[in-house]
Each structure stands twice: as structure tokens, then as C-alpha cells.
Amino acid sequence: MAPPKQMNLKDAIAQIQDGDMLTFSGFTIWRRPMAAVYELIRQGRKDLHLVEVNGGTHSDLLIGAGCVKIWESCWIGHELFGKIGANLARKAEAGEVVIEDYSHLQILYRMAAGSMGVPYLPTYASLGTDILNPKYDHLGQMGLRDGSHPKIPMKKYEVVKDPFYGGELIHVPAVNPDWCIAHVQMIGEGGTVRVDGQVYSDEEAIKASDNVIVVAEQVVTEEYIRREPTRNLVAGHQITSIVELPWGAHPTGCFGCYETDGSFINKFFTRTRTQEGLDAWVQEWIHDIPDFNAYLEKVGIETLETIRANPAFGYSTKIKRGTRA
């Protein structure tokens, strides 16, 4: 495999085609590749098929902006800062985006199977729920499981007998997204990836994907990152492109670097409950801004300094979070 190329965000994102299947690093409102999502919207990507272990601010925005046709996952929202993914809800209720529901463990296993190179994994997860109701196999109902779509499995799941110990469980199909876009703290020039704090489902998402764009807070020499190989998550030969972009996960948080900007996310949630509100937000924060540096200037140094993490803890000790302190 060719070594990964370092490039700017615009060129990295330009590699992604309309209709591609995408997944992401992070967890709900933590370590999401937000700058990359802004760039996907700026470039007007359409008909994307998202398969993600869980959703969050990044995917709710991408869906609201009209870039997505299918969303396969288990959850979307903004945690404490917005109780539902209102953009997904609106688009789904209007018939503009199709949701395929899996449970958290099921979709994690789909990604894990993809990362292992096996076609499926067995699990007991979420048996006896309507997630397995054939009526809600939406891609199947739409005739998309006919084998003509290489990234869409021919069944949502399969009930199987345990051939070894008896009993019954399900197989969930592997997924191999075209692209994973990951935001991490550090990457070597040769693509060695280091993630600090919880790794969420990054390893499965990166290793399942055919191509990987890593957006990193810092690019360092391979010599430096290989001094402590036990701290590294993925080797460079599984990485396609490297982008250095500090603060690139804002407003989501990045362990050891900065806190989730909850106030920003809450304003996003409040303002984008309607399509008009979302369109205005996208105009203001994406189209009216030439690049990510201008975005950071608009966010402001005061906010960025407030959410900057204290190295003793990995989170900010300056941010005001509750109503009493």
C-alpha cells in the first residue's frame, strides 16, 4: 500500500464522491471531524450513505444540510446540549432520509466484522426488539437488498442456531465504508495514529473502511510517535490521507486538547429545529466563511482558551458548566 499523503482539508475531502458510504471517529459529541463535515457541506456532497456506530452533532448537521440519503446507526442527539437529532428527525419525517436502525452493539459488531475481514459476527444483542421486526427493515422494504448494491447486505440480519452449544442468536452483516473520517490528537508523518483517552469505536471504524482520512491536532515525526508504540492505535498502511488541523473537532470535544463547546452545540440545536434555521446556520458558519481559520476567528480566542484542556485532567477546568458554580 502507498504511504498516506499529507494534504489540506479541501483536497482531502474532494476525494469523497457523491453517494459514497462514510463513517466517523468519536462518540456523540466527542472527537467528531467537524471541520471535515463543514467542508463536505461547502463542497456540496450529495446522497451520502452514513453507517456509524452512533450519531451526533456532526451527522445531524450533515443530514440537515441535505448531504445524506441513508443513515444506518443506533442513536443521534447532542447529549445534554440537545436532546434529539432534530435535523435527522425532520428529514426522516419528510421522507428525505431513510433510517436503518441497529442497536449499539449490533452496529458496533457490523463495523468490527468489517475490520476483521469476516462477512458477519454472531451476537445476542437486542433480540426480541422491533429493531429486528422485518417491517422495519427499511432498506429491504425499499428493494435495496437485491444484491446489486455492493455496500448493502442482502439481509439486515439473520436468526441462526448456535451450531456448537445450542440455542439461538443472530448474525449481523459486516460493513466496509468507502471512507472513515477520523479526528485524533496525533499522527506520525507516515500515518501512525495515536488516540488519547477513550478510543470509542475508532479502531473498528478506521480498520473497517476502505479509505481513511485522519484529521489530527498535530502531525509529528514517525521517530517521535514510535518511541512509545504501545500508545498507538493504527499503523500508517491503513491510512489514506493526513490533514493537520488543530481545533478541527470543535464544537465537539477532544480529550487532552479541548472540552466540548456545549454552549455552541446548544445554540446549534436551538437554531436548527427548522429547515430555515438550519439553512441560515449553514450560511453563517460554513458558506460565508472561506476556511477553517476564519471559522476559528469567528468562534473567538476567548472561547477557545476557555475550553482548552488542563493537562492534569484532559478537560477544561475553566469552563462554566452548571447553574451554580
Binding site: L127, N133, Q198
Partner: protein, 270 residues
């Protein structure tokens, strides 16, 4: 200074305080507990400071036995891993769940039925074009299916306590067996991985538990509430034959821990 073990009076605590306290009392010392964002974080924190100092808390995003000194606002929060034994990821903690290591989990939901089936997916008609989409399952369905005991914390409203939930996101005691969909006992569906299910539903009005047949009954009503009020706010007929009386209110010590140790910033306890 009041005696920390003395019970408070109704005017001295808020409904949310009693929810957190009642939930914390469900934890047995030594339990491995799966907790989600919000009230469950208060409950497990309080349990560890009171009756269950050796309880181990696992957060879904991938942290094991953290001891945050600043309250996390979500399970993916950097705060979760302060003094944790392991900062890992979903593959580690969900495998622990499936492996049968989780004794107790705290969960929430938009709708619940008498068998502890919970909906967090959609209200009204669901399908390719849903009537009203909610957040989705997250780990709720996996955890309710595979933990030994689960405790739900919910708002008591007639539209939320339903004879039949609009979508079974999270499996209770009587559930559909797919692909056919016939309703059977949970044990029959989970076979080798069956190890329990919903233990209690704690609302702003009372505490419900489940009988031998997996049916919900009212166990206690909170101070200030009543059997009548709870029935009026429940969409199905509640079994009240086993009501034990009032839910014990928080102690002064429990309130002190909640407001001054666990959530001094007022994140969930504003």
C-alpha cells in the same frame, strides 16, 4: 447540624433528588454497574459514597471504574476516565456486557409498557417515513437485554406508561421472537444469554417493580404522591396489591453528597 442519617421532609427536597436517591439505593455493594448520562451518573456516584463503595461503574463510551472529581456531562466525557482502571472503547465494554459481567444498569425511555418494554425510537406510526422520530436505541436495548438487572428512570405520564409501546426498542419480560414475532417470555428468546431483565421503574411519583410473570406493580409512592395520582398518570391499570407505602425520602447526608460532592456545579441539579 442535622443528623446525616435522618430523613428529610417533603419541602426539603426536589423530585429529582428523590429520583437520584431511590436509584442509588438499587445498587448492591460490589455490583458492576452500567450507567448512562444524567441521573444515572448521580445515582451511581451517590451509591459509591453511601451503601456501595465497591461498586464498579462502566460507561458505555469505554471507561471502567473511573472516579471523576468533576461530574461528567456525558459518557464520552474526558472526566469519566479520571482514576479509571481502563480507558478503552465500546468493543471492550459491550463485550463485558454480552459476557455477562454487568449486574445492574440504569436506563431511561420515552414510553414503557407493563412488561418493561421501552420505546426510544419513534412515537406514532414507525416506518420508512416515521411519524415522530426520537433518538434511537443507543445501548438501551443491548443493556436491557443482557444485564442481570435494569432500573429505568422515567417521567410518570399517561402517554408514556402505555398498554402497548409504539416501538419495542428495549426488551422487557415478554417480547417478540423474530422472525415470526410471536410474544414469548424473554427467557425463550435469550436462551443461553438470559440472565434477568427489568427490576424497577422509578418515576417522579413512585417506584414500580416486576412480579413473577414479568408484570409491573406499584411498590411505593413518593411522599406527596398517592396510589390514585399514579393510577391517573398511567395508561394501563396498575397492580396496586403489593404497595408497601411511601418511598423513603432522601436523608440529609444524601442531599449533602448530591449537592456538595457529586454535582456542586449544578449541572443536573440546578
Amino acid at each position: 447540624m442535622k443528623n446525616r442519617h435522618a430523613l428529610t421532609h417533603p419541602v426539603e427536597f426536589k423530585p429529582i433528588d428523590l429520583l437520584a436517591v431511590a436509584a442509588s439505593r438499587e445498587v448492591t455493594d460490589g455490583d458492576v454497574v452500567f450507567a448512562g448520562t444524567g441521573l444515572p451518573m448521580l445515582a451511581i456516584g451517590l451509591a459509591q459514597l453511601t451503601g456501595a463503595p465497591n461498586a464498579v461503574c462502566i460507561y458505555e463510551a469505554g471507561s471502567v471504574d473511573g472516579h471523576p472529581i468533576s461530574l461528567p456531562t456525558s459518557v464520552g466525557d474526558a472526566r469519566c476516565i479520571y482514576q479509571a482502571s481502563i480507558a478503552s472503547g465500546l468493543f471492550d465494554v459491550f463485550n463485558q456486557l454480552q459476557r455477562g459481567l454487568v449486574d445492574l444498569a440504569f436506563l431511561g425511555g420515552a414510553e414503557v409498557d407493563r412488561y418493561g418494554n421501552v420505546n426510544t425510537t419513534g412515537m406514532g406510526t414507525y416506518g420508512i417515513v416515521p411519524e415522530k422520530r426520537l433518538t434511537g436505541s443507543g445501548g438501551n436495548s443491548d443493556i436491557n437485554g443482557l444485564a442481570k438487572k435494569t432500573v429505568f428512570i422515567m417521567v410518570q405520564e399517561k402517554r408514556r406508561f402505555k398498554e402497548k409501546v409504539d416501538f419495542i426498542t428495549s426488551p422487557g419480560w415478554k417480547i417478540p421472537k423474530w422472525p415470526g414475532g410471536e410474544i414469548v417470555d424473554k427467557k425463550e428468546v435469550y436462551n443461553n444469554a438470559f440472565r434477568g431483565g427489568p427490576e424497577a421503574v422509578i418515576t417522579n411519583m413512585g417506584v414500580f417493580r416486576f412480579d413473577e410473570n414479568g408484570e409491573m406493580y406499584l411498590s411505593t409512592y413518593h411522599p406527596g404522591s398517592s396510589v390514585e395520582e399514579i393510577q391517573a398518570n398511567c395508561g394501563f391499570e396498575v397492580n396496586v396489591s403489593r404497595v408497601q407505602g411511601e418511598t423513603p425520602p432522601p436523608t440529609y447526608g444524601e442531599l449533602d453528597y448530591l449537592y456538595n460532592t457529586i454535582d456542586p456545579e449544578g449541572i443536573f441539579l440546578s
